[in-house]
């Protein structure tokens, strides 16, 4: 593992009107690291994730990706966003395009690949998420789990430096969650750098290198999963874990 971090975020703040939802968050993510963000809804973890590629405009603070500033006023956002893959809770596949075309669109328009190269790449990505035979299906013909795997393939196809997952399994029926987590596990084996917001505590414990516990717009505790799950220090973490394991 090299010492240069992929992502470096310091003192990130975000306000919606007078409400401060991020109160100075610091996070450094090393290459190949899997960081899981936990916290109850409203803790700011999704907003934090969406600030990283500036889908949400941070109020202040700085973000760098491989040393390049994302937050600078002259940042080339389009170039940087290609290097930050994002997976959404509600998949956000393009309903009028097939699974294959959902993937080739950005390859052709953002990376300028030829049609043939883009389709080859897209087929390769679909095979990786186990959906090679669904290339020509429209999103409405796919299950939620399949749609989310296509969405992951779409983000991965651009060969990003880091993948952001915003509650990737929250909109799925319980029996479909496994197939999506399986893909994320596969990415972990390939040392993909990932920041994951999830409520799947079992998965977090098993797959994370580091767990960040957020509450009211701040990081209240962080550490390796075993430490955090077996000996949580902060009262909010204890309460959160008790609440979820008691479910």
């Amino acid at each position: 593992m090299t010492s240069a971090p992929v992502l470096q975020i310091s003192d990130l703040r975000k306000s919606f009107g007078s409400e401060e939802v991020l109160k100075g968050v610091n996070l450094t993510v090393q290459r190949g690291e899997v960081v899981v963000l936990l916290g109850s809804s409203g803790s700011g973890k999704s907003t934090f994730l969406r600030c990283i590629n500036r889908l949400e405009e941070p109020t202040s603070g700085s973000i760098t990706l491989n040393g390049n500033s994302v937050t600078a006023s002259n940042a080339n956002l389009r170039t940087l966003r290609k290097q930050i893959g994002m997976v959404f809770q509600s998949f956000n596949l393009y309903p009028h395009l097939t699974a294959l075309k959902n993937i080739t669109l950005a390859l052709r328009l953002s990376l300028g690949q030829t049609r043939q190269a883009a389709e080859e790449q897209a087929k390769h990505m679909l095979a990786q998420v186990g959906l090679a035979e669904k290339a020509h299906a429209h999103p409405s013909e796919l299950s939620g789990g399949q749609q989310q795997r296509v969405a992951i393939a779409r983000a991965l196809a651009l060969e990003p430096q880091v993948m952001l997952f915003d509650e990737p399994t929250s909109a799925l029926d319980p029996e479909l969650v496994g197939s999506v987590l399986e893909v994320i596990r596969l990415l972990r084996q390939r040392h993909m750098t990932m920041v994951i917001v999830t409520h799947e505590l079992g998965f977090a414990r098993e797959a994370a290198d580091r767990i960040i516990m957020m509450d009211k717009g701040e990081i209240v505790e962080e550490g390796p999963p075993e430490q955090l799950f077996t000996a949580p220090k902060h009262p909010r973490t204890r309460e959160f874990l008790k609440h979820f394991t008691g479910r």
Binding site: N53, L55, R78, T79, R81, K82, I84, G85, M86, F88, S90, N92, L93, Y94, P95, H96, L105, A106, L109, S110, A151, R154, A155, L158
Partner: protein
């Protein structure tokens, strides 16, 4: 009863009027098609431009749209034909009518497309943005295709309503269908040509109405 037949369904008069009226019908169809092409095209372009985050683009478009949605079509056509020449801009009767109707259709079509664009879930914009697509690429390839489908019902209604306004061309002496019907009517002192005109309007607009129903039906089920 006989009087109604004599004055409104006088077959010999209608038969004599038919060749001239068909000539007018051709011009009506030509005006309608030109108006649809120009109006829908301009409306689409305006809706795309309006999506850019600049008030210097957005505000003039909103002003244009609101003005041309509120002015009566006849007033616009007459202003173009009679008033613009004083500013040194002259249009033929045909183009005055087509231009006036196109401006109105562009305003309404813009609203239809814009409604479709704003109905697109935010997640679609975000997914495209997150993969590095430009605003233009996002609008053209991600947002517009479903948005156009959404806007079809209101758009087809407007197309029919505005293109029927080709009859207003008779006010600025376009020799279209209604103008011919009126002039023949005054020569033969019998309003049967108007009945024939009504039938001919039905003949071109009824298929258009049916086509729009089919379009709406088709897109409802393919979504």
């Amino acid at each position: 009863m006989e009087q109604i037949q004599y004055y409104y369904f006088n077959l010999p008069i209608m038969r004599d009027a038919l060749p001239t009226m068909l000539h007018g019908l051709g011009l009506t169809v030509l005006m309608a098609l030109t108006t649809v092409a120009m109006g829908v095209g301009a409306g689409l372009l305006l809706a795309i431009l309006r999506s850019y985050p600049s008030r210097w683009i957005r505000w003039p478009i909103i002003c244009f749209v609101d003005v041309f949605r509120s002015l009566p079509q006849l007033v616009i056509i007459i202003l173009i034909y009679f008033a613009l020449p004083y500013a040194g801009i002259e249009f033929s009767p045909f183009w005055s009518t087509v231009l006036g109707l196109s401006l109105v259709l562009a305003a309404f079509a813009q609203e239809s497309f814009w409604a479709g664009i704003t109905a697109t879930p935010r997640g679609q914009w975000e997914a495209a943005t997150a993969t590095g697509l430009s605003h233009t690429a996002t609008v053209l390839f991600v947002v517009l295709p479903p948005a156009i489908k959404t806007s079809i019902p209101s758009l087809t209604n407007r197309i029919i309503a505005v293109t029927k306004g080709t009859a207003l061309g008779s006010a600025v002496a376009v020799q279209e269908l209604l103008a011919h019907a009126q002039s023949i009517q005054s020569v033969v002192a019998n309003p049967s040509p108007l009945t024939l005109g009504a039938l001919l309007y039905m003949a071109i607009f009824a298929p258009m109405v049916a086509f729009s129903r089919w379009l709406e039906w088709r897109y409802r089920w393919s979504r």
